[in-house]
Symmetry: C2
Subunit: 316 residues, 2 copies
DNA sequence: GTGGATAGTTGACTCCGTCAAGTTTTAGCG
DNA sequence: CGCTAAAACTTGACGGAGTCAACTATCCAC
């Protein structure tokens, strides 16, 4: 519906106005009168890649060459930088002087302090949530621009609830399976915790730039089999091999834990998931229809049997 | 630990740099050559509160008076605004002309389009998540500045998982009750859904500026009693009477649903919660120690019995 | 009506930011 | 080797951004 889009856009604009103002206030705070904003940006760039030519700075900051040239001249006059001669005699590489470094340190500390004060009311969890929210904004708005560091970590408090939430929201939005799926997921979580044996079962969370982006649970199925459940990767984090990494982690854990194989249940409609399992050498062993979520749903059981002679089957 | 703070601050600074650049790029996009950035901000303010004096604009935008005066003169010269005479003969209230309104409409559409393109890859759920993340950032950084609209709504897919997550994270962080609490919460959710009868049980979510900020579940306890569970309000949303609103909602629902009263179980250590229940005329009926979460925990049962002669007991 | 505050204007100044026209050096090519 | 195009800056010119201080006209309170 187009109305939703309009509402979202209005809210984004609102946030942009708010954040513009916030950044403005912060800058006024930490820049005192020693530096103007573009000067500060420039100084930051100089510091972070020190013997550097004007051209590099120019396209890193997207500044006009003439403008940049004048700021640099000003910096030199104030004694914050010196300019040498490079291999290429046209270039005049810039380096910081002692004074320049001290200036930067001063401004840097002030900026830290301004931010520290801004977040001083928050406890650690809230601060982390704040940073996660920021990373999320960035991932949504500029997926290509974000660093994209993927990390797999062990689950901790709250992660299981998050898994339930995301499963429910995702399947509800895309397939209309609602409340019952959420209850099923919650039941899976309850059973997982109640039967949790760190040597036989586990759960992993994938983080993309520190933002929770995927999950996978491995429980003990009995019969020397492990069972895979609640496999999920956030839409914004797709195409980075996160599911593969999670699956590889789980497979090697299951092998080391002494399981003979892994069983899982998935829905026929989930094409990407089926390809994932096939890629990791799982084999489909049967299909069934169930009616748990209101309408009939086609499901499939897949299994991976470990052979002792080796290949773990990780691709991509 | 101070190191955490440093990491958070570094990430915030990173985000600030990123967002500054994004906003810059967006502005370049939609402003064409018709308007400069401050002009656009000013025009926006004029439009949103139209017959308006320069002084109001001045402190709404935090602009210098002289600077503002000159921009306004420019606007007038270009025929976008006209200036009348108010009650106060010193003031020269500003109104838009037809031309000004058309200009604004043009720029506004361009800005909408630029943003629509930015979020074009996102589906509805992701867009909402983006907006929520933004609201979250704002609530954390400027709790007082945010609008603070509280809304109570019915629960939907994913909300129950969220409730589990927040319960687990909160109690783990503050009291060290970990996994078992999460399993218990998940079990409560499973049972709630399995026994869900819209006429007898329900669950509400409180939103602050569109961000999930609190929850409350009312299930059918039998014996003509309803049972309150998973009552929670986010730290960033405290002191706004959200818990009171949730509780009032639940109480009136329970009464209309024909329950004779409400029972709940809480921990002795949760002082704010106990005060909340007392404020709503709940009465403590017994105490008990349990060992579910590792160490011994003191709990209490409270009850509210509805009398037919009325007072619902809502305060604050 | 007088003194102090308020609404707004104007002048002077510095930095921001772009465009176009330079200078010096380099790299490629015949 | 010399010529040319391009790169790495620099400089001039210009208008807007943003601040400060001085100014006019009006209002309000006593």
């Amino acid at each position: 519906m187009n109305h939703d889009l309009d509402v979202s856009i209005a809210q984004i604009r609102n946030f942009n106005r708010y954040y513009t103002q916030l950044i403005g206030a912060l800058n006024a705070d930490f820049l005192g009168s020693e530096l103007t904003m573009p000067e500060a940006r420039l100084l930051y760039e100089i510091v972070s890649s020190e013997p550097v030519s004007a051209t590099v700075l120019q396209d890193r900051l997207g500044m006009d060459a003439g403008y940049l040239s004048r700021i640099i001249a000003r910096f030199e006059k104030r004694g914050w930088i010196v300019r040498g001669r490079g291999e290429d005699a046209r270039a005049r590489p810039i380096s910081l002087t002692q004074d320049g470094a001290e200036l930067f340190a001063r401004v840097d500390v002030r900026q830290r302090d301004a931010l520290a004060q801004l977040v001083s009311e928050l406890d650690r969890g809230e601060r982390e949530d704040l940073v996660r929210s920021m990373a999320r904004v960035r991932l949504y708005l500029s997926p290509d621009l974000a660093p994209g560091d993927v990390r797999i970590r062990n689950f901790r408090s709250g992660d299981l609830g998050w898994m339930i939430q995301r499963q429910a929201q995702f399947y509800d939005a895309h397939y209309g399976w609602g409340l019952q799926l959420e209850a099923t997921a919650a039941e899976i979580v309850t059973n997982f915790v109640r039967q949790y044996d760190p040597a036989r079962s586990h759960c992993w969370i994938a983080e993309l730039d520190g933002v929770m982006a995927g999950s996978l649970m491995l429980s003990d199925e009995g019969e020397d089999l492990a069972r895979l459940r609640l496999v999920f990767v956030e839409p914004f984090a797709r195409k980075r091999g996160i599911a593969d990494q999670l699956l590889a982690e789980a497979t090697s854990f299951a092998q080391n834990a002494g399981h003979r194989g892994i069983r899982l249940w998935t829905h026929t409609v989930l094409d990407a998931a089926r390809r994932l399992y096939a890629r990791h050498e799982f084999v489909q062993v049967n299909t069934a229809t169930h009616y748990e979520f209101g309408e009939p749903v086609e499901g499939e059981t897949w299994e991976l049997r470990f052979s002792d002679c080796g290949s773990k089957g990780q691709s991509k």
